[in-house]
Amino acid sequence: MNEEFSPTQNRRDFLKNTAVVAGITVVPGVLLYTGSMAHQPENAVTSDRRWGMLIDTTKCTSGCDACVNACIEEHGLTEEVRAEVKPQWIRKVGLRDKQTGKEHSLPMMCQHCEKPPCVDVCPTGASFKRADGIVLVDRHICIGCRYCMMSCPYKARSFVHETLENQKPHSPRGKGTVEACNLCVYRVDKGLNPACVEACEKDGQKAMLFGDLNDPNSEIHKRLKEIGSTALRADMRLNPGIRYQGL
């Protein structure tokens, strides 16, 4: 075998092979990234919408936990731990009017404030509000300082105190970070109702109405225009997206 050595040929081959390998490596990633970033304009999250909920406390009954159970199922909040550290994204609360003695039952969750104190105090910006009013926690930059829990007037947030197992892929959680009701944002983005609202409709008392507060044609907008709703701790002027009827 007497092959003649050619440095020019070798360099050309090397460059050609490198270009092919680089192309194979990089192009799919670029295409995938471009594809994932390509939002259709009609699906983009904008402040034209503001998602909210109206809860009719005259319909909600004290024995019904359909919304709570649906939330536990939807987000996999199934860990068996003592009650003080168990995460609560939504809870049922029973109330009695101190003056009249009238009793109420209602679900309580993150109120998705227009001016959320949890977002104000978060040092890293992990607590944030989407343009459409849904308040979320970015679990990638939450450092677990719990200042948002200190600041929330509704005690709506929980800290993950323990190692988690069997997480739901659509609702990732993380030990050492803070979490709260996310209004089932991935369902809302697909045009569905949050799991609690769906359960209340199906198995409960049809006490929860979800929709776009800004849309004059939405049912929630019309109902809020008709009836006198209550914002919890309205004195704080946080303008929550969750409103209560009959309270």
Binding site: V93, G94, R96, V121, F159, G176, T177
Partner: protein, 405 residues
């Protein structure tokens, strides 16, 4: 003014080695606690979804306040030009750094995700007082380090009063920021008041000076024959009394203003007359042991001339400050949030009907908190061994020229 000689500590005494062993042990126990808290989660602590901040936060804030306050001596020397304090200024700035590092270590190790400390340093929400504090704490370390350098470097001596002034202003802002962490919490009745900032400033001045006097006493008496002069301890002791009085004044303003607001009578009754642990700690811990008793030791003719009573008063000031922080931080969370004004909560899946939220600190939390003190102590002892922070003698005769000024 007589020239003051500075020296490193000998580092041969039993006290030196004992200090190193004990503080190292405290640090190791704290790291073990932090490892377990990260491995198993905060479920092993007494903190929960109702009492969100617990014992580690009390230790951390205690050390951070003391760090800011311990700079008193250096500030009096360089800002207020009282040259009597000049020989002690180096130690004062050193302690400010070591105490802050101890406090911050506890705060970071208690995070749910301490591994994301880089995120806290790179991703800022500038509306958050917590984010401001991260900047203020890091800045304070840098300013104090420069301050120390200028004090110790002959060529930089003429600039050091300027850096001293910057450090003085910086630490006032820093303590304002620490107090505002609570003052800005609109939802909780026990917090949400602007008086938190000056209260924390006054508390930092008292805690810092108390720590300084104790360190001075321990350092001097563990190394050699106790040569600590009357003047060296007695001048700052009067100031300590003034600071204890200032803390009491702001505590009084805090409670009187709360008692004036009808909506806050509940939380005031809970703290001042609720007969729980918080009432005991407030009246017994803060008021009697941390205010009345040290003032008696510092000002009563029978005790005020003794070294021991000054050091005892300093210890009691620290004890009282710790008790006050416990009442503020834990007590403020133990009293339930009023989410439904005008309504009585009759049932809840999340303790809304609780009259008081309970909290029992776990051993892990105490171990982690104590490690902050260990870190501060170890760093201080090592720094004193390596660089000349201490005057060669603390006897009045040695610094009498300075004393006269």
């Amino acid at each position: 003014m007589k020239k003051v000689n500075f020296c490193v500590i000998e580092g041969k005494s039993a006290g030196f080695y004992g200090g190193i062993v004990i503080s190292t042990l405290m640090i190791l126990l704290g790291l073990f606690a932090a490892y377990n808290m990260e491995h198993h989660g905060h479920i092993i602590t007494g903190m929960n979804n109702q009492i969100v901040w617990g014992m580690p936060h009390i230790f951390a804030i205690f050390l951070i306040l003391a760090a800011s306050g311990v700079l008193n001596v250096a500030s009096i020397s360089s800002v207020f030009r009282k040259v009597f304090y000049h020989p002690l200024a180096r130690l004062s700035a050193l302690l400010a750094i070591t105490l802050l590092l101890g406090g911050l270590s506890v705060l970071v190790l208690d995070l749910g995700r301490p591994d994301r400390i880089v995120v806290a340093m790179t991703s800022y929400n500038f509306k958050s007082i917590f984010a401001w504090n991260i900047v203020l704490y890091n800045g304070f370390l840098v300013v104090c380090a420069i301050y120390l350098w200028f004090m110790m470097e002959r060529r930089m001596q003429r600039y050091y009063p300027t850096v001293g002034l910057i450090a003085f202003i910086w630490r006032l802002i820093l303590t304002t920021g620490t107090g505002s962490i609570f003052g800005f919490l609109v939802a909780r009745e026990a917090y949400h008041t602007a008086v938190m900032a000056p209260l924390f400033i006054a508390l930092s001045l008292a805690l810092g000076l108390a720590v300084f006097l104790i360190v001075l006493f321990i350092d001097d008496c563990s190394e050699k024959q106790c040569s600590l002069g009357e003047g060296v301890l007695h001048r700052p002791k009067t100031l300590l009394g003034v600071f204890i009085g200032a803390v009491f004044y702001f505590v009084l303003v805090y409670h009187i203003s709360h008692l004036y607001f009808t909506g806050r009578h509940g939380v005031e009754y809970f703290i001042l007359a609720g007969s729980g642990i918080y009432t005991v700690l407030f009246w017994g811990g803060y008021f009697f042991l941390g205010t009345i008793l040290p003032l008696l030791l510092l000002y009563h003719e029978r005790f005020s001339h003794s070294h021991v009573s000054i050091v005892a008063a300093s210890f009691l000031t620290l004890l009282g400050g710790f008790a006050l922080l416990y009442v503020i931080i834990i007590g403020g969370q133990a009293y339930p949030l009023e989410i439904f004004p005008g309504m009585e909560v009759i049932s809840s899946g999340f303790f809304d009907q609780a009259k008081i939220h309970s909290y029992i600190p776990s051993g892990w939390e105490i171990m982690l908190g104590m490690s902050g003190i260990g870190i501060s102590a170890l760093l201080t002892v090592l720094a004193l061994r390596i660089l000349p922070f201490m005057p060669s003698s603390l006897a009045d005769s040695e610094i009498e020229e300075a004393f006269r000024c």
